[in-house]
């Protein structure tokens, strides 16, 4: 993962094996929709630059392509631009030179309106059907590219490919698929490599990893002496963050890994064979779009009094009821007051089967409302209401909450939601993605 860091020694060891391509995934939807909505990243510029310094220097010296997927995290134009600034800075400072391709993943709204009218868009999972309003309401919408736009850029002679939102394995699989290797093995290998050494034991995304692709199998090799690849660790990574353990859906491809065999190759590498593809009747691209839905204000406090802890559910309910009374001029549907009771059920919420609290509990109260001003106002009222809220048997009459900070209330800014999470059927895998070619250095 770009920006997580990796030991220079293991990266250099990997380069010593004379690889054909250096690829890195820079993105994820794991942290929710706010990176896409706000146009921000998950990792710092400093950390990204440090990783890119090694990667770009390595690619330049070995004369092999460098491919970055989901640049800047969410892979929209803003994120790609941010990544390109860092890259251009490195190219200048290190006097490097690249034939570069930048592949944008931002999707034109007019295109989506047309596809919607043609009934070529369907929900991916439990999301409502796409509407023209949700297309217009999203701050930005990206499509998750497959290998084809990257293969196209390679055909154009690009040595450095900076791709916007991409299917995580695509930057790894594009070059071998273009060169005629089995797409099933290439994609499966890409799926394993995209998290770095997370497929090794001990696993980490903060280390480099090496793959060797052959005609009928591939090998994954750990590069740092502190970790090894075992058949179980590599197999384990195959099903990591996936809905199904051995059926994996990607753009224009469906992988069936049910017949895979994971065998030890050497003491730190694993041989994998048996990856298959299933035919897909149409080529679909995943769309991701985020909308701003509210503003948030929170406070963090602790509770230690045993009678207070016993009564915490009634108190939080009482505070929420009091807010409806105090803010009766605001429609109830406009805002929410939420309590996260750490030490009771804050981690699992409705999924928590146990309910008995610990000897102390943490309270995070959250107000979401249409404006920051209103969220701040309700949070302030709710905070003071809870601080002095009376309950049966109360002995600690001076105050109910141990605030962590002063000021206690924290304005968190906008809250986002994935309002577009759909599949669009395309005629050409590249039709959504615009590539710019430029000479760097």
């Amino acid at each position: 993962m770009l920006g997580y860091g990796f030991p220079e020694a293991s990266f250099r060891r990997g380069l010593g094996r004379r690889p054909d391509v250096i690829a890195v995934d820079a993105g994820s939807t794991d942290a929710g929709p706010q990176k896409l909505g706000a146009g921000t990243g998950t990792v710092s510029r400093q950390a990204t630059k440090k990783d890119l310094l090694s990667i770009l220097a390595g690619g330049h010296e070995q004369r092999i392509p460098v491919i970055i997927g989901s640049a800047g995290g969410a892979g929209a134009k803003k994120h790609v631009g941010w990544s390109m600034e860092v890259i251009e800075e490195i190219v200048r400072e290190r006097r490097l030179a690249f034939e570069a391709a930048v592949i944008y993943a931002d999707i034109d709204r007019a295109y989506l309106h047309r596809k919607l009218d043609e009934s070529k868009i369907e929900p991916l999972g439990p999301v409502p059907d796409l509407t023209h309003a949700s297309i217009d309401g999203a701050i930005r919408i990206v499509g998750q590219m497959g290998c084809e736009p990257i293969m196209d850029a390679l055909d154009h002679g690009a040595q450095l490919i900076v791709a916007g939102r991409a299917y995580d394995p695509a930057p790894f699989a594009a070059l071998p698929i273009r060169d005629g290797f089995d797409p099933a093995l290439a994609m499966h290998l890409g799926k394993i490599l995209e998290c770095g050494a997370l497929c090794a034991d001990p696993g980490t995304a903060k280390d480099a990893i090496l793959g060797y692709l052959r005609d009928d199998h591939f090998i994954v090799e750990a590069l740092d002496d502190s970790r090894r690849c075992y058949p179980t660790s590599v197999a384990a990574h195959t099903l990591y963050e996936k809905s199904h353990p051995y059926i994996l859906h990607g753009p224009g491809i469906e992988l069936d890994l049910s017949e895979c065999v994971f065998e030890p190759q050497t003491e730190n590498s694993v041989r994998v064979s048996g990856s298959r593809t299933r035919a897909t009747d149409k080529y679909t691209i995943k769309l991701e779009g985020a909308s701003q839905v509210a503003f948030r204000t929170i406070f963090i406090a602790g509770v230690r009094d045993p009678i207070l802890i016993e009564n915490i559910d009634e108190i939080t309910q009482g505070v929420a009821d009091q807010m409806r009374e105090d803010y009766r001029e605001v429609p109830e549907s406009d805002y929410q007051v939420l309590f996260h009771i750490y030490g009771k059920n804050a981690v699992m919420g409705s999924l928590e089967p146990r309910g008995e609290p610990g000897h102390e509990i943490g309270v995070v109260m959250e107000v979401v409302a249409p404006t920051q001003e209103l969220a701040n106002a309700i949070c302030a009222t709710a905070r003071s209401t809870m601080l002095h809220y009376p309950y049966v048997g109360r002995k600690s009459t001076a105050g109910n909450l141990a605030f962590l900070y002063s000021p206690s209330d924290i304005s968190c800014g906008p809250v986002y939601k994935f309002t577009v999470y759909h599949l669009v059927e395309v005629d050409d895998p590249c039709e959504l993605f615009r590539t710019e070619y430029l000479k760097l250095g």
């Binding site: 197999a235 996936k242 809905s243 353990p245 049910s258 999924l351 089967p353």
Partner: protein, 109 residues
Amino acid sequence: MAETARLYDLAKVLRSKNAGPFELTLDVMFDDEETYQTVKRSGVINRDLICRLYRVRPEDVYHVVSFDAARAIKITIKRPVDSGGIGDTDVYGAQQHAPLIDVMIPIEG
């Protein structure tokens, strides 16, 4: 007499994670074939168990599948709230495995 063992003690890996923003996936993995087969054959890990432990409806349990090559059992359920959405409590879904810890598996005595 058949004895029982805690799933947490039998498993090498017991974890949860988002599978996209709308699904939560639970992986139970074993480092030896015998333990894996014992747990798999016991049939204890099934849709009913997940509904009971997580208090979700059967239609919100998308998969309960074993994967022999990885000695793994995977369970995928609908997230109660989408990742990072209002009311979500675990953005990465990384700490939702706890109800599986104390599941008891019959083992050969």
